[in-house]
Amino acid sequence: MNGVYALKIIKYFEVAKINYFNSLAYVINALSRSGVVVIRIWIFAQLYRITYAASGAEEIGGLTVAMVVWSLMMTQSFQSSGRPPVSEIIDEEVKSGALAYSINRPYSYILFHLSGYLGRSTSSLFINLLIGSAASLILVGPVKITLFGILFGAILMIFGRLLDFLISFIIGLAAFWIEDTTAIAWIYSKGQMVFGGIILPIALFPDYLQKIAEFLPFSQLFYSAARLIVSFDMELFHKFILIQFFWIAFFAALAYFIFKKGLKYVTINGG
């Protein structure tokens, strides 16, 4: 029986692997994404240096300028690390009917796309982090990163990616009922920008807003992991992982329900 389960797990690992290698065909894209991260980090470094100097504070919300820049570098790297546009892919599959071909194969449609998402985003994640870290080091100097920070941050990052996948997957599935899902995808991306710690670390928000932002799913996609890596705090880890579990459970149930419901609407163009 274990052998049977092993075969089922191996297939998703292979899907991730083939996506990983397929994404290597776009090395130039990965490097250009890293270039964009470096430019943004340079802008953030100037911006936050001036902001901190104007306020006269060494630390705001427990973060120094260097910590802010490193944290932004990580959220930017996580976010732009060649994540496949899952919502676009699913939207297209629903509209074109390609989804019907996929569900006809002996695998779970959701796990197939999740494996693809993880495989595709892994290759450029390391390139981004490597180039981004070098740029941050030059621009603002080092920050104290602990092994625990990396370890627990990596856990939050993995669950954050799962959460991002689930939300994007649901947005894509909305194509079963609405003509164009790009508007929802746009709101999701702007939500990440404002509440996801992509341009402004949530630790710098006023207290009440920080509490709200931390509970929203946006901050749990990329920010929570970055925040923990630059300044490890076990209590914060517990808090973040609980929020992540809550949203993952919620969106996983929603994705499953919508997918089952949507299957009844499967039609194929050109039949």
Binding site: V4, L7, K8, I10, K11, E14, V15, I18, F21, N22, A25, A98, A100, Y101, I103, N104, R105, P106, Y107, K264, V266, T267, I268, G270, G271
Partner: protein, 327 residues
């Protein structure tokens, strides 16, 4: 023994109907209107093990919808389907392990990677024993002559090479039935021929049941012993491909080569298709006149050097059948 059984199969789609104009647009938002389209209407047929069946029809006839219902991709509105003992509507995943499909417009090979990577992935997806898989792959590579193509990124292969690799991909898990939807679409003559040989080989040597749809009469003529023609979702012909030709031929093509120049050629029921100085090609409507009479007429009036009589191409026969349905 039947491997596919279809009884009273029907599929109806609801298509949104949007009228032009702002007022109608707003009304549509509040109360959308739908039109019911019957893509498949009361189809019944069966396919025996080892058969090579052509399932053809004009665009929108319902052939792809039928294939998609047989493979479990679409749910029928009514009727019964049994494929290899499975009900595709309820046992889609179980059925997937036993059937293969090639949809000409939906490639399964990874575009940027060599075909071998997709094959390895499919072997994992179908949970194949790795030793068995390697053995079977070696066989497919030889049969499809794709040894030199295996390690080339798919994007660099020609369309014909890609299609051979596609069909091989659909056979990785040794399916008992393979559904080929337009396998020769867009291919040149040589590539088409190659694909046809492969299909023939699979059917004759490997005893794989093949369910083929194609717009190419050449595919049907050279491959299928039996043909089903569908139009407007209904079967309008089901029988041997030879019979299709015999029953539906309404004309013959007669080619005459003469010793003397042909000045004038007028024969009731005959239409000149091509005319040279010493040769002429005439299409004879056999409901209006007979071949015998045409030949007698030719011998009496011309000094005949050579005579050839052909059946019109299958393509034209099928087109005639479609046209007759529309009237």
């Amino acid at each position: 023994m039947n491997v596919i059984e279809v009884k009273n199969l029907a599929k109806e789609f609801q298509i949104k109907q949007k009228r032009a104009g702002l007022k109608n647009g707003l009304a549509f938002l509040l109360r959308p209107e739908y039109k019911n389209i019957k893509a498949v209407d009361d189809l019944s047929f069966s396919v025996s093990r080892g058969e090579l069946l052509a399932f053809i029809g004009p665009n929108g006839a319902g052939k792809s919808t039928t294939i998609k219902m047989l493979t479990g991709i679409l749910f029928p509105s009514s009727g019964h389907i049994n494929v290899l003992g499975f009900d595709p509507t309820k046992e889609r995943q179980k059925l997937a392990y036993n059937i293969g499909s090639v949809f000409g417009q939906k490639p399964q090979l990874w575009y940027h990677l060599p075909a071998i990577d997709t094959y390895n992935l499919l072997a994992r997806i179908y949970e194949l024993d790795q030793r068995e898989y390697k053995k079977h792959l070696a066989f497919l590579v030889e049969a499809f002559e794709i040894g030199d193509l295996l390690n080339t990124p798919v994007r660099k292969l020609s369309l014909g090479q890609r299609m051979r690799c596609e069909i091989a991909a659909s056979l990785i898990h040794k399916p008992k039935i393979i559904f080929l939807d337009e396998p020769t679409i867009g291919l040149d003559v040589v590539a088409k021929q190659h694909i046809r040989e492969v299909i023939k080989y699979l059917n004759e040597k490997e005893k794989v049941t093949i369910f083929l749809t194609s717009h190419d009469a050449g595919d049907i003529e050279s491959l299928a012993k039996r043909t089903i023609i569908v139009n407007f979702g209904k079967i309008i012909f089901d029988g041997p491909t030879d019979t299709l030709k015999k029953n539906y031929i309404k004309s013959k093509i007669v080619e005459l080569v003469t010793e003397d120049p042909i000045e004038n050629f007028q024969f009731s029921g005959g239409t000149i298709i091509e005319k040279g100085k010493f040769d002429i090609k005439v299409e004879l409507d056999i409901s209006k006149n007979s071949i015998d009479k045409l030949l007698s007429f030719a011998v009496e009036n011309f000094n005949i050097k050579d005579i050839n009589i052909f059946d019109p191409p299958l393509e034209e026969i099928i087109a005639d059948i479609y046209r007759a349905q529309k009237l």
